[in-house]
């Protein structure tokens, strides 16, 4: 009896919800789709009318970037400033964390639906090759002012004599060290002129003095940046302007042997701990926790990481080799690029110039994407930099001064190289393969990658 009653109640509520959703969802469909399609209509109608009536220019742009809350806030403020100075222009911010950012961008490009303005990492060449980015060359000089820029930075976004991106922040890979641990172990903090032998000695000293569970350095043999500067320090190159590799199997063997010796001496993080506590993220890095003294990092990570720990952190150059210092010159940490399908290339260019050259925007944005590329903005900011930011500014200047005068070329298919190098390092550190065999495999695969990069699709 009771069950029959409850079932009737169940049925009537079900019927009621069915009715409700039928109405609810349809009305919802109507409202949200109309609100979504309206701006698009507006922009298309207004864009055609802009050519005739330049006084009431209405432009709608979208800009996407990734970051954390601090960058979101600063970038939004900069956009608001730009909008207030350019009545009629609205820039819809589309920001998110880094997870999934590139996947979404790829999907949007595949559907022809990418934002007008896009923040990108170092991998812009891939997108240039596929004709996804707008050629900014026509606007250089007239709209985008790059006179105040280091030529290397402009060069890095120039392909076939055309400019496709503008650096938002300069960054440099180097070593991040835990000064507190150096002090505890009584080891002097290295100078910029230290060598690979010095690194070996310091790592061994720190790990023996501080005892079990503490290590001098992460196993950096899996870091492409570390390998590049090692090769540079011995007169070689990971990848040259001519599109070829400039190193031999022997160099790779030397590189991995160096780290294997350190591993046998107990001075580097053991293989398993390196996997479970990778140095790439602040939440897992043992340098932040005060158990490892040295790791690779980008200079711009310093401020954020320092905030997470009471240990004192600092930045350090990669060591020297027989050919001097092989540091990779400061790179663009992030570019701003324009989507090839944008309807308002001129306004896009104007905004790009605003992001990098406007003093007020510079004040708002600060160093949220690394050191500002324009000299005068950098000077303006350095007067008010926090001590931690100052360390970053100084480090990047130092790297710029000491990097060897070769034209640095990014390895194509960088993603795949990073993965290959990591697997090679793991095979060696977990004793799954001899150094010689792993080096052989590495060379074969690197050559395949280079060949793949040069094969036109």
């Amino acid at each position: 009896m009771l069950s029959k009653k409850t079932s009737v109640v169940a049925i009537s509520t079900l019927a009621a919800t069915m009715l409700l959703t039928a109405c609810g969802s349809s009305s919802n469909d109507g409202s949200s789709s109309s609100s979504a399609s309206k701006p698009a209509e507006n922009s298309s109608t207004t864009s055609s009318s802009t050519t005739t009536t330049p006084t009431a220019e209405k432009v709608e742009l979208r800009m996407s970037w990734w970051g954390s809350d601090d960058r979101h806030e600063k970038t939004q403020k900069a956009i608001e400033l730009f909008e207030s100075r350019n009545p009629g222009v609205t820039i819809t911010p589309e920001y998110s964390g880094f997870d999934g950012y590139m996947d979404k961008l790829n999907t949007q490009i595949a559907a022809g639906n990418a934002p007008d303005l896009i923040q990108m990492g170092g991998n812009i060449k891939e997108y240039v090759d596929k004709n996804s980015l707008l050629d900014l060359t026509p606007y250089v000089g007239s709209v985008i002012n790059l006179e105040d820029f280091n030529q290397g930075l402009v060069q890095s976004a120039t392909f076939n004599d055309k400019l496709y991106g503008v650096t938002l922040g300069v960054n440099s890979t180097g070593l991040l060290y835990n000064a507190t641990m150096f002090e505890k172990a009584g080891v002097a903090i290295p100078t910029k002129d230290w060598t690979y032998d010095d690194l070996k000695q310091a790592a061994i000293d720190i790990s023996t003095k501080l005892g079990k569970g503490n290590y001098g350095v992460y196993d950096l043999s899996s870091e492409s940046g570390a390998l590049a500067s090692y090769l540079g320090a011995y007169g070689k190159e990971l990848y040259g302007v001519d599109g070829k590799r400039h190193f031999e199997k022997e160099d790779i063997i030397n590189w991995f042997t160096f780290w294997s010796e350190l591993r046998e001496a107990g001075a580097v993080v053991p293989a398993d701990e390196q996997v479970s506590s990778p140095a790439t993220a602040a939440d897992t890095s043992l340098v932040v926790k005060g158990q490892v003294a040295i790791q690779s990092a980008s200079a711009s990570q310093l401020a954020g990481w320092q905030a997470l720990t009471e240990e004192k952190l600092g930045l350090l150059m990669y060591p020297k080799g027989t050919a001097g210092n092989g540091m990779v010159p400061p790179q663009s940490g992030q570019y701003i690029v324009a989507y090839e399908g944008t309807k308002h290339p001129e306004m896009v260019a104007k905004f790009i110039d605003f992001m990098v050259n406007d003093p007020e925007a510079g004040d708002i944005l600060g160093a949220t994407r690394g050191v500002p590329p324009a000299g005068k903005i950098r000077d303006q900011l350095s007067t008010q930099a926090t001590p931690v930011d100052q360390v970053m500014y100084d480090f990047i200047s130092l790297v710029a001064d000491t990097a060897p005068p070769v034209v640095w070329t990014q390895f194509p298919l960088d993603n795949e190289l990073i993965k290959l190098l990591q697997t090679t390092q793991e095979k060696i550190s977990f004793n799954a393969s001899s150094i010689d065999k792993a080096a052989d495999e590495f060379m074969t695969e690197v050559d395949k990658l280079i060949e793949k990069a040069h094969t036109p699709q």
């Binding site: 079932s7 169940a10 049925i11 079900l14 019927a15 919800t17 069915m18 959703t21 969802s25 919802n28 469909d29 949200s32 789709s33 979504a36 399609s37 698009a40 979208r62 996407s64 990734w66 970051g67 954390s68 809350d69 601090d70 960058r71 806030e73 939004q76 403020k77 819809t92 911010p93 589309e94 920001y95 998110s96 964390g97 880094f98 997870d99 999934g100 996947d103 979404k104 999907t107 595949a110 559907a111 639906n113 934002p115 990492g121 993220a281 602040a282 939440d283 932040v288 926790k289 005060g290 980008s298 711009s300 990570q301 401020a303 954020g304 990481w305 905030a307 997470l308 720990t309 009471e310």
Partner: protein, 279 residues
């Protein structure tokens, strides 16, 4: 004898609770990280914070410009409620058809249906995105909700299995009473398969609540962001993240699913338990 009778349940509770607490360790860790001072989250080893702070909750909720975290909760709840309603209606209808009605090509359709969940979603994502883009649905809730009204293979299969556990005699007697298919479905089959429906509702809610990738791909306007997207606004895995806010908001983000489960579970567990006491 009497002592043994009292010890046995006690032992049972100790084991079940002990195992449960072990399984919950990560949750305690999350909870404690959300109230630790920032410099302690990753550097201190113990669960117990040296000082308790609620600033992460405050910063996480109010810390974003022009938007509060509550907005993400509202959006998530709206999408989830629509998804639950859609899934229950459409999946139970299809399941009823597969389980009880004979029609041509039934087996083929059933096999095709199972086939759709065997292909990894990553390769259909882009064609699907292009389709929704052509409809003008990108950056609305529609790609995330409308498909739910069109049946989900997982739940259809689930409900089919439950309906097939209901004896056919009930159908026959209903038909003798002159009931049509609709009445049979609504009056008899739906109520009797309510454990499966509640299960489907809970799973749909949680699955939709957690669906980071789909929401990330389709939503671009921050005002339409959901909880998983909101959480990652603090998370720049290529640079520096605001971990305090991530953990604090992660704790809050579990609450709705927990509530739904706690409220829903009695619907699929009562019944038999009462006879269990007798046995």
């Amino acid at each position: 004898m009497a002592l043994q009778n009292r010890l046995k349940p006690l032992l049972f509770h100790i084991i079940v609770l002990g195992l449960g607490l072990l399984m919950l360790y990560p949750v305690f860790w999350l909870l404690s990280s959300s109230v630790k001072p920032t410099t302690e989250i990753f550097t201190s080893k113990g669960l117990w914070p040296s000082a308790i702070t609620f600033e992460h909750y405050h910063n996480g909720w109010f810390g974003l410009r022009n938007i509060q975290f509550g907005r993400f909760f509202l959006n998530s709840i709206m999408i989830c409620v629509l998804a639950v309603i859609g899934t229950i209606i459409s999946s139970s209808m299809a399941a009823f058809s597969f389980a009880r009605i004979d029609f041509p090509l039934k087996k083929l359709f059933f096999a095709l249906m199972l086939g759709t969940i065997m292909l990894p979603g990553h390769v259909t994502l882009i064609p699907q995105y292009i389709f929704f883009h052509k409809l003008g649905w990108v950056d609305t809730f529609l790609p995330l909700t409308v498909p739910k009204f069109l049946g989900d293979a997982f739940f259809i299969f689930l409900i089919v299995q439950f309906i097939r556990g209901i004896p056919r005699e009930l159908d026959e007697s209903a038909k003798i009473d002159g009931c049509g298919w609709l009445t049979l479905f609504v009056r008899i089959i739906l109520p009797l398969s309510s454990p499966a429906l509640i299960t489907a509702a809970i799973f749909t809610f949680m699955g939709t609540w957690d669906d980071f990738f789909g929401q990330m791909i389709y939503l671009s306007d921050v005002n339409k962001y959901t909880v998983p997207l909101g959480l990652r606004l603090f998370l720049d895995s290529s640079g520096s993240s605001n971990w305090g806010s991530v953990f604090a908001m992660s704790v809050l983000s579990i609450v709705p699913s927990l509530l739904i489960f706690f409220l829903g579970q009695k619907y699929f567990t009562q019944g038999i338990a009462t006879t269990g006491i007798k046995g």
